[in-house]
Every structure is written in C-alpha cells, then in structure tokens.
C-alpha cells in the first residue's frame, strides 16, 4: 500500500473541490486526510491531501495537473506504508 501527500492550489470555482475528489475516487485512491483552506480573498483553496492506494502515484498526479482549476501541484511525501490505514473511501 502506497501513501502520498501532496498539496496544490485550487481555483475556487464552481464544483472545483468536488471535481478533485471525484477524480481521486475514480482513480482508486482513498483519502487519509484532507485540508482545504480558502485564501484571504476567497479566490483559491490551498489543499493538502494524503492518499492511500495500491496504484502508482503516476496514475493520479498527471490527471490532477490537467484540472483547469489546479495549479502548483507539489508532492510532499511519497512512500510505501507498512500498514493500511483505515482510509475514507469516497465511494460507498
């Protein structure tokens, strides 16, 4: 099981966060933690996510970079975790 932590700036447009989370779900990543803070002027969200997956990180990050609302996508930490965290599956 791999764990990755990354951050990005997300333009605070209609549905941007839902679009990001939907992408995470479709690519079969589970959310371990998620923090999203609006910028002072409200135009951006600063997002930091830790995700868990059995898939390579390359199956998600290039797709996040393609989101028109996303910028400054930056990997903070990546590695194999010794155990599986009981992560939140966005899907039921």
């Amino acid at each position: 099981m791999n764990t990755i932590t990354f951050r990005l700036k997300l333009k605070h447009d209609e549905g941007a966060l839902v679009r990001l989370l939907g992408l995470v779900r479709r690519k079969r990543f589970d959310v371990v933690s998620l923090q999203a803070n609006a910028s002072t002027d409200g135009s951006y969200l600063d997002v930091q996510m830790t995700l868990q997956t059995s898939r390579p990180q390359s199956s998600l990050l290039p797709h996040i970079e393609k989101l028109l609302e996303a910028s400054h996508v930056e990997m903070i930490e990546s590695g194999e975790s010794g155990r599986e965290v009981r992560a939140a599956r966005i899907a039921s």
């Binding site: 209609e14 549905g15 839902v18 939907g22």
Partner: protein, 550 residues
C-alpha cells in the same frame, strides 16, 4: 440584450453555424433568440441524438460540435453523447438550460444537477450563475473543447441568467496555445532507439488525426519505411491500402498486425493510449519491445505500459524530427509476407450475404471519399476490418465508450459537415433501435445518408461471446422478433429494400449509391456469423482464435 441573445451572438462569434438540439422549458429563452440568428438549428427527436450528431459533425468537420437541451431529462439525455465525446476526445460544447438560480437546490420541476452528473465525463464544465460571466464562459468553453487533447465542455445556463439584460461584450484573447515542441533530449533518445532497432513497428492512434499531423505522419512512414499498425481510431492515418500498413491491431485485428507487434523490438506509439481492446493481456503485450510514446497528453504516458522514451508535445514536430531512413529490410519483408499470408479470404461458403464481403464491395464501389459512421457490435468490427479508409475523419466510430446507437445521429452530423460526401451509417439490428427515432430527422432534412442495416436477428457480438466463451449459454440475445425494418423506414418516408442473397450484393450497393435522398438497405445475414479473428478475454494478442471453415 438578454443573456440568451448574447449566448447566441457569442456562438456565432465562435464560428458556429449549425447546432443540434431539442427545446424545452428552461432553455426557451435561447430558442427564442435563435429565431433571430444565422445559426442553423437541427431539431433531432431525442437529445442523445443531438449530442451524438454534434460528435459526428465535429469528427467529420474538424470543428467544435454544439448541442443543446433543456434542464432535467433533456440534460440527462445528453449524457451518453457527452461521455462518448469524452472517451474519444471529440470537441463538443453542450449547452443545457437550468432552472432559475433561486430554484436551484429545491428539487424544482425539471431540475437536475447536470453539472455534478457530468463531472467525470467532461473536459471541463461551467455553471453560469452570474450573467457577467457569460462572455468569458462561452469563449473559454470553445477554447477548452478544441485545445490540447480535445473533449466535451458543458455550459449549464439557469433560466434567470438567460433572461438577464446586460451590456455584454465578446471575450477575446487567451487563445489556444499551440502544443509545445518536443524536448531535444527526448528526440535524441528516440532516434537512438530507432537506429538500434531491427524489428520496429509503428502503432498509430486517433491522436494523429486530432493533432492534424496526417501529412507529418505519412512522411514519417515513407521516410522510415517502418511497418505500421493502427488502433480502431487510428484507421485512415495512412491509407489502409498502403503497402506498409499491416492492419488494425487488437481483439479483432489482422493477424499480421498482431504478430508484428508481438514480435517487435521497438514500438513507436503515436497518439494512442494502450487501450485494453488494442493490447489484449497487457503483461503479454509486445513482450520484447521497447516503447517510444509520442503524445500531447502527459497523463497517458506510462499509464498502462512502461515507456522507455516519452516524446511529449506537438506530433508534427516530433514526427518530422524522427523521420530518418531505418535499416530493417529483413523485418519489413517478414511483415509484408505475413500480411500476404493472412490476407482476408472473401470466398465464404453458402449463398447468403457474407457481411465482410458485402462491406468490402461497398468500399470498392463507394470510392475513397466515403464517410462511414458505425454503430457498435459485429458490424463495427467488420467495417474496421474490411472497409478501406483514406483518412481518419472518414471513419466515425464509438471507440472508447462503445455507444450502441451512435451511428445514425453521427452520420447525420457528418452529412451536415460534409454535404457533398457520400455518408453511410452501417448499423446492426440491435444498435439501430437505440436511436431509430432519428430516421425522422433524416427525412425532415432530406439528408442523403445511406443506411446499411446488417441484421442477424441477434445481439451478435454478445451472442458470439456466449458461443465462444460461455459454453453456448445464450442469454437475452435473440432479436428474432425485430420489426420489418424496411417498412419502419418507409413509414418515415425513407425508401428501403431488403437484401438476402449474396448474388444481389452489387445490385443492392448500386441501388444505394444511386439514391439521391436517404435510403435504407436491410441486409439479412446468418445469425451465427462471427467476427474473426478474435482474442479471447484475458488472452494475449498472440493467442488469436480464427474461423475454421469446414
């Protein structure tokens, strides 16, 4: 000017001269504005037909296709067409009416969250909550749909925004950026691999046509003289009659094509995505090959297959930089001998219509400029195998989503895009029923689309799989209670005739070609006809099953 009036002006400003749609409550302001517009609106009979016609129009014209529907069920009926455009990277702008903003979230009549529903199947989407955003949104929607890797964009327009007066001005600027040039280092590494290769194969995908890189691709093939195979969507990238073209690869590919890929030591993948229908069992796909992957979309590189050298960016520049003579004459001869050895044999037993032979003859008599819009199933694969295509935009097929019902509306869109072209819809008895109502659209606009309905009284592809892979346990595939399709067509004012004997093939095709308006040929074939060869589920492309003729 109201928002709806501006929307129509903005569409004109973006170069739209035709759109496909169906009116309803929430979109009425836009339909009112259309009355004063130069844009030709094509009234389909179901919104899915609008989305698929816009898709067919976009593929055949190279322009952005536009479709429109009202809120609620009108919008949800577009979804399959939007998903189809997404999976095949087709530039479409879909405009939906929405209930007025104060009603949104109240479960109002014909309210549905189409923005949310379509999130996974759009390149991008907009909900226009403020009328001041309308100019920017429309301009952005077209720019996004056609730029980079194309795709569908949704614009959801609440009724009160459509009715809001304002001093709207066209948005300008921020035009589509050209694809970046490939990195010199990537080109140098790719050249090294090409020079070192003794068994190279070109694997051509639909991205070549989308990138308008046809000339550069053909020059690349001529210069390198490397044998080429294609995906379903790559057909026509070079003429399928070209001596170096070995055929379509994959599940129903030519044996020569699959054998070449499996034996290759270098795979030059151009605008393709290692789709499972093309690769078969991925771990056994091209097991000896290093891979050069040329694409505009970085997210496709390494997604399914390890790539030694990614070459990202403008295909035209990449292809030009890699066009060198390649010394692989023994391999070339081996591939061409294999192509000859496994050439199609049209001499099938029996006297009934042999679908591959019928389609081959159709291709020969229709000539090189014909456009074929397929549905999905056995007939789709027979078209891919047996029709000769000179250009990719002559072959409209639902490759990614596999949408039964795609063909007829796509043919309508293509005929509007290319009024002088000979446009066929090759369909099956399962698929045609999925959008049969669009026969009325054909008649309404008197479009000379020629429908070849290949009828085996079954859901043929599913029946074939049940025969081959489910111990002949046939489950819900029998369509022997089909209507009389010729009479159905005639009831909608479309001349139709039935073809049952192989000896009638030429006469039937000539009758189709002679018709100046829409026409339907109901071609009856054996229910047990199968598509050969086939790679079974989970199998490698080296393990193709073929027909045994007794």
């Amino acid at each position: 000017m109201k928002g709806a009036e501006f929307l129509v002006k903005a569409l004109e400003h973006e170069g739209v001269d035709i759109m496909f749609g169906y009116p309803g409550g929430a979109i009425m302001p836009v339909y009112d504005a259309l009355l004063d517009s130069k844009i030709r609106h094509i009234l389909v009979r179901h919104e899915q037909g609008a989305a698929l016609a816009a898709d067919g129009y976009a593929r055949a014209s190279g322009k952005v296709g536009v479709c429109m529907a009202t809120s609620g069920p009108g919008a949800t009926n577009l979804v399959t067409g939007i998903a189809n455009a997404y999976m095949d990277s087709v530039p479409v702008v879909a405009i939906t009416g929405q209930v007025a903003t104060p009603l949104m979230g109240t479960d109002a009549f014909q309210e549905v969250d189409i923005f949310g529903i379509t999130l996974p199947v759009v390149k991008h989407s907009f909900l226009v909550e403020k009328s001041k955003d309308l100019p920017r949104v429309i301009h952005e929607a077209f720019r996004i749909a056609r730029s980079g890797r194309p795709g569908p964009v949704l614009v959801d327009l609440p009724k009160d925004v459509a009715n809001t007066p304002g001093d709207y001005q066209f948005a300008e600027g921020d035009e589509s950026a050209a694809a970046p040039a490939p990195r010199a280092e990537s080109i140098a590494r790719a050249l090294e691999l090409i020079r070192a290769s003794r068994k190279p194969v070109i694997y051509a995908g639909g991205g070549i046509g989308m990138a308008r890189a046809l000339d550069a691709f053909r020059a690349f093939v001529e210069k390198t003289r490397i044998p080429a195979v294609s995906t379903l969507k790559g057909l026509g990238s070079i003429p399928t009659t070209h001596e170096l073209f070995l055929g379509m690869m994959g599940m129903h590919g030519m044996k020569a094509a699959n054998h070449a890929v499996q034996a290759s030591d270098l795979l030059i993948c151009i605008g393709a995505r290692f789709d499972d229908r093309a690769t078969g069992k991925l771990t056994a796909f091209a097991p000896h090959a290093k891979v050069i992957h040329m694409d505009v979309d970085p997210s496709e590189v390494g997604k399914l297959r390890h790539v030694e050298v990614p070459v990202l960016g403008d295909l035209r520049q990449s292809l030009a930089a890699l066009s060198i003579p390649v010394e692989c004459e023994p391999w070339r001869r081996e591939c061409l001998a294999s192509k000859k050895q496994y050439a199609w044999d049209y001499d099938a037993p029996g006297t009934g219509v042999y679908a591959p032979g019928f389609l081959k003859r159709l291709s020969q008599l229709a000539g090189p400029g014909a456009i074929v819009a397929c549905d999905v199933g056995q007939h789709q694969m027979w078209v891919a195998q047996h029709f000769d295509f000179q250009r990719p935009e002559h072959h409209l097929t639902s490759g990614g989503l596999g949408t039964m019902g795609y063909g007829l509306p796509a043919a309508i869109g293509a005929q509007f895009a290319r009024p002088d072209a000979c446009v066929f819809n090759v369909s099956g008895d399962g698929s045609i029923m999925m959008n049969l109502q669009e026969l009325a659209t054909l008649r309404r606009y008197d479009l000379p689309v020629k429908i070849v309905l290949i009828d085996n009284h079954a859901l043929g592809m599913v029946r074939q799989w049940q025969e081959l892979f489910h111990d002949k346990r046939y489950s819900e595939v029998d369509l022997s209670d089909n209507p009389d399709f010729a009479r159905v067509a005639e009831s909608m004012g479309i001349p139709a005739f039935r073809v049952e004997s192989r000896s009638d093939t030429d006469d039937a095709i000539r009758r189709l070609l002679a018709e100046t308006g829409p026409v339907l040929a109901h071609v009856v074939i054996d229910q047990e006809a199968n598509v050969w060869p086939i790679v079974g589920p989970g199998k490698s492309n080296s393990e193709m099953l073929d027909e045994v003729r007794g």
